[in-house]
């Protein structure tokens, strides 16, 4: 009896101390993350210019009005194209690079150095990457058209051609994301047991079949993770694509995040901006849920 009370006291003291321990982090997150998140949902039901005292409750009107705001469908198309395009490009390139880098230590080039080199763009900021690529794409003075000209071809108007500009923005974004996926893929490749390859070779599998029937299935979880993290990263991007293209030509490369920023600071339509933010939050939450499910399942794989 005495002993039980003793443990109870001990547990209660621990609980009290534990609550004290989480307090700083909890208060900070509550005030600056949770409250604003709740508020963005609340604001999406109001018409408000962000300054005046009274705001008008309009129900779902903001959401209903969204599709008719200027360039909404262009924005939706651009955002989807950007996210999908960036993800596909990043996954393809980083997978091939990771395969080349893995190669079971047979190469002559220094693997560690190569991996680090591919990683460098990932540590540069979006502002930096955006400005560099904007300059590189310049029609008259950029290095890309310089190379194209020296190869004897006609220069390309990267930033003022519908469709092509979408690709230009995607390429710049992909450049800054490839390194991350290379590292994740490499970790995946290195965790494939050599015995699997040996067994398959003994069964007569050639190089292509080894890749197709051993590497690819074993890499499925890494591929999923990379697809999800890259698509989240591209849905979130703001300054990099904006600096490269400025949303031009027309509205063809203007993204959802850039629209939110516009509604917040240029047009002062907080209600409709919040409605757009809610869409973004829901979108990213859905992708992350998918990621969580995959990560959980991956625990069993390894």
């Amino acid at each position: 009896m005495q002993a039980r009370r003793h443990t109870n006291n001990f547990q209660r003291a621990r609980l009290r101390a534990g609550l004290l321990f989480v307090l700083p982090a909890a208060v900070l997150c509550l005030v600056f993350v949770v409250v604003p998140l709740v508020e963005v949902f609340v604001l999406s039901f109001y018409e408000w210019n962000g300054i005046s005292q009274d705001r008008l409750f309009v129900g779902f009107n903001n959401f209903a009005e969204l599709p008719s705001t200027e360039g909404f469908w262009d924005m939706a198309k651009a955002t989807l194209l950007f996210a999908v395009g960036t993800t596909v490009l990043v996954i393809l390139i980083s997978f091939v690079i990771a395969l080349a880098l893995d190669n079971r230590g047979s190469g002559r080039l220094n693997r560690g150095l190569m991996r680090s080199l591919w990683f460098v763009p990932c540590i540069l900021s979006g502002s930096v990457v955006g400005i560099v690529w904007r300059i590189m794409y310049n029609y008259n003075n950029g290095v890309i058209n310089f190379i194209i000209r020296s190869l004897g071809m006609a220069p390309v108007n990267w930033l003022e051609t519908y469709g092509l500009t979408n690709f230009a923005v995607i390429l710049a974004a992909a450049w800054s994301l490839i390194g991350l996926c290379v590292v994740v893929f490499l970790a995946g490749l290195q965790s494939i047991p050599t015995e699997l390859y040996e067994a398959a070779s003994i069964d007569g599998a050639g190089r292509f079949n080894l890749r197709r029937h051993v590497t690819l299935p074993m890499m499925a979880p890494s591929i999923t993770i990379n697809v999800l993290t890259t698509s989240i990263a591209s849905f979130k991007m703001y300054e990099l694509p904006w600096l490269v293209s400025g949303g031009l030509p027309g509205y063809s490369t203007r993204l959802l995040t850039q629209r939110i920023y516009f509604f917040a600071f240029q047009s002062g339509r907080f209600g409709i901006g919040s409605a757009l933010s809610v869409l973004l939050i829901i979108l990213i939450t859905l992708i992350s849920l998918l990621q969580l499910v995959v990560l959980r399942r991956r625990e069993d794989v390894y």
Binding site: P24, L37, G126, I135
Partner: protein, 277 residues
């Protein structure tokens, strides 16, 4: 047969080398460009000769970007929010990992859920909130926002790390009558170096490179951070390439130099959460 295999290996190596060189063009281009006058950047973008060499771009960019004040601002914001993060997250992670109570389970689930929410999604109410607190233009606004928005991921890191530590570690200490704080301070804290390194690097890069938070909450002319300065002086309508390149180099240099020395930690830090272990 063997010869052919070696030949194809060699081909693969060459392709890899070529791909790496192409990938490096942007970096090479702006690094050499920063030391050349504008005309040479345009006419000979891929070479640099001693005759071209100039440091004038840097002199200009230092003035234009108010480098002293923008570096101070970025440095202060980064260091202060990192300090808050490490203390807050290691304490919270310790409690979540070591106290068995359903409150901490819910708390942890909330943390995980918050981890993925993008800052821009809550940008509008945050601007409203900071205005209401009368903190627009205060570095503290940036510090608090950065600490708060990086907190979920940091708590996740610390919790995972401490859950993996054996519970025998502190049992003897509790029996000897140590308080939980003593256990945290004397037994856990010294063991946390690896996870702290991961957390510092991951969050540090994000905060250093941030544009959105400081652009929304500070006055970009009077108190720019490095990335805001780079953005507002050389963004959108840049025509003076050399100045922009010099500015870019100065803004990225601290992170890149640290990367050179701590590559392993960087790669681990940035991919933490996506790769196990």
């Amino acid at each position: 047969m063997k010869r052919r295999l070696q030949l194809s290996r060699l081909g693969g190596e060459l392709m890899l080398l070529l791909a790496t060189l192409v990938m490096l063009i942007p970096i090479y281009y702006f690094v050499i460009g920063a030391f050349k006058p504008r005309l040479d950047i345009v006419k000979f973008p891929l070479v640099i000769t001693p005759e071209m060499f100039t440091t004038g771009n840097f002199t200009y960019a230092i003035k234009k970007m108010k480098i002293v004040s923008s570096l101070t601002n970025t440095g202060l914001i980064t260091l202060t929010s990192l300090a808050i993060l490490v203390v807050g997250a290691s304490l919270a992670g310790f409690a979540i990992a070591r106290v068995q109570h359903r409150f901490f389970k819910y708390y942890y689930a909330t943390v995980i859920a918050l981890m993925v929410i993008p800052f821009i999604g809550a940008l509008i109410p945050i601007v409203v909130l900071i205005r209401r607190l009368n903190m627009i233009g205060s570095l503290w606004a940036c510090v608090l926002i950065q600490a708060a928005w990086n907190m979920p991921f940091s708590v996740f890191l610390y919790t995972g790390f401490m859950r993996a530590l054996p519970s025998e570690l502190e049992e003897a200490a509790y029996i000897d009558g140590c308080s939980m704080f003593r256990v945290y301070f004397n037994i856990f804290l010294p063991l946390l170096t690896p996870v702290t390194a991961t957390c510092l690097i991951r969050c540090g890069i994000g905060i250093w490179n941030d544009y959105l938070v400081s652009a929304s909450l500070l006055n970009s002319v009077r108190q720019p951070t490095l990335m805001v300065a780079v953005y507002s002086f050389f963004g959108q309508y840049v025509s003076e390439y050399g100045y922009a390149f010099a500015g870019i180099i100065m803004a990225s240099l601290p992170v890149v130099v640290m990367f050179l020395f701590l590559q392993k930690y960087f790669i681990k830090g940035i991919t933490a959460g996506a790769v196990k272990g």
